[in-house]
Symmetry: C2
Subunit: 274 residues, 2 copies
């Protein structure tokens, strides 16, 4: 998907919501556990209930890999289901990969060729040759970790060099020598809203994937105020707050309601800051 196509989706749906499919067997409604593939059944219901209100889905690979083979099967079936039922969705493999060239090529093949994902999250620590292999295919995206939403993000991402430039700023600058804003996005946590202006100074036109709204406590308005650009430039992710909104047999309806609530706020933000 191109940047323009993504922006068109956002305008049409009046939403820049990405629903994180962090599906955990220990958290889904108990009545699903009797089915052959509880994770897939849960995802299907969540997807059907939320598709109207979001433009992207982001399965976090860890949750699927934790279930081994069965988990991979659930993941592949979920991706295939979205592709078939909602082909307009922007599909992000939240894999946080990053390895040397020949290995990253393998991951790129896995996510783009085999699974037909639109984007993969990639960790920057190993540098250019760990990221480039993900950039060979047109209309496929690398979403590079820049400034994450977790507490530990301070451990290394905020370390400053002699000129007071932080590592996350180095990542934003140096990676722009590898790819344009038509093929790269950055992860910038909603919990980092005080640093958003520093991000936008270096990357004014890029899309940012923003986790940390909801369960992690980031504020949508604060993020939009400093983070939105002329093509929206934001994909705001919510996982737990939506998919685990309710644990009863009506879990999907509750998830849909929650997603709708966020979509309405987003429509307001688009109207206010776009």
């Amino acid at each position: 998907m191109t940047k323009q196509e993504l922006f068109e989706q956002i305008k049409e749906k009046q939403s820049f919501l990405c629903v994180g499919l962090d599906t955990d067997l220990n958290k889904i409604p108990k009545h699903l556990l009797d089915s052959d593939d509880p994770i897939y059944e849960f995802n299907k219901s969540i997807i059907n209930a939320t598709a109207k209100y979001c433009v992207a889905y982001k399965p976090n690979l860890a949750f699927y890999e934790a279930a081994g083979l069965d988990g991979w099967l659930s993941f592949e079936k979920t991706v295939a289901y979205i592709k078939q039922r909602y082909p307009e969705m922007f599909l992000i493999a939240d894999a946080k990969r990053g390895d040397i060239g020949n290995t990253s090529e393998m991951y790129a093949r896995s996510f783009f060729d085999n699974l037909k994902m639109d984007a993969v999250t990639v960790a920057p620590y190993m540098g250019e040759d760990s990221v480039r292999p993900f950039l060979v295919q047109k209309e496929k995206w690398v979403i590079l970790l820049a400034l994450t939403s977790n507490k530990g993000s301070n451990d290394f991402q905020l370390i400053e060099d002699g000129n007071g430039e932080a590592i996350f700023e180095k990542v934003l600058k140096i990676s722009q020598q590898w790819a344009s804003d038509e093929e790269m996005m950055y992860v910038v946590g909603a919990t980092q809203d005080k640093l958003f202006s520093r991000v936008r100074k270096i990357a004014p036109n890029h899309f940012l994937l923003v986790p940390g709204i909801g369960a992690q406590g980031g504020s949508l308005e604060a993020v939009c105020k400093v983070g939105m650009n002329s093509s929206c430039g934001l994909l705001v992710n919510s996982s737990r707050a939506i998919i685990y909104a309710d644990n009863s047999e009506d879990f999907a309806t509750a998830a849909g309601k929650e997603a709708h609530k966020v979509q309405l706020e987003m429509a307001e933000m688009l109207n206010k800051y776009l």
Copy 2:
């Protein structure tokens, strides 16, 4: 496995070789492609031919995930095979994971509980809460990326703060507040031999997992000279140079010969520097 048990293995086998199972369908001998599970068949032959000469195996997850479900199956079967036939082996899941707490917990569960691996490689960029979940189980190891062997390692790992301390040194220092040398190792590339002394100044007692010998051109002697400590402290990985030593029907014999050659050099190094 404890640090002492690993050292005992090294002394007994006179080897600190880790064989990287970076198994690629496009590189294995053609005659294997007719079997039901070529990757598993290849791995079994390589393992049986090299087990005498190494103390560890390191399947790189990317190569298996690239093959999707079948790849995961080959990976799980390979791990189970090693566990059953060679229970003394130190098993490393080269996964380079790193995500927020609840997600890293999932990975820890996947690799330690389900797959019974001894160690997982972890990326440091997201900081403490992305690493801690891997540290909850006794005799299980985190192998943290510090200084990698690839060209791109210079992009961020060598950036220095105001006091001339590089990011890789920060990773070595800060991570020692999270775990001891009984539960954490570091990845330090053989191609970085000039920086090994800086690593050993900060982490004198830790085991280092050292990729980059062979195909990537690092020197074993250079690494041992500065990197070996009183409990060896080195696991030197070789992947392509051993497993792809030969592409004929005798590939396993050739791999065994290559591994034996490395083991003999290592015996010499242990004799010289331990």
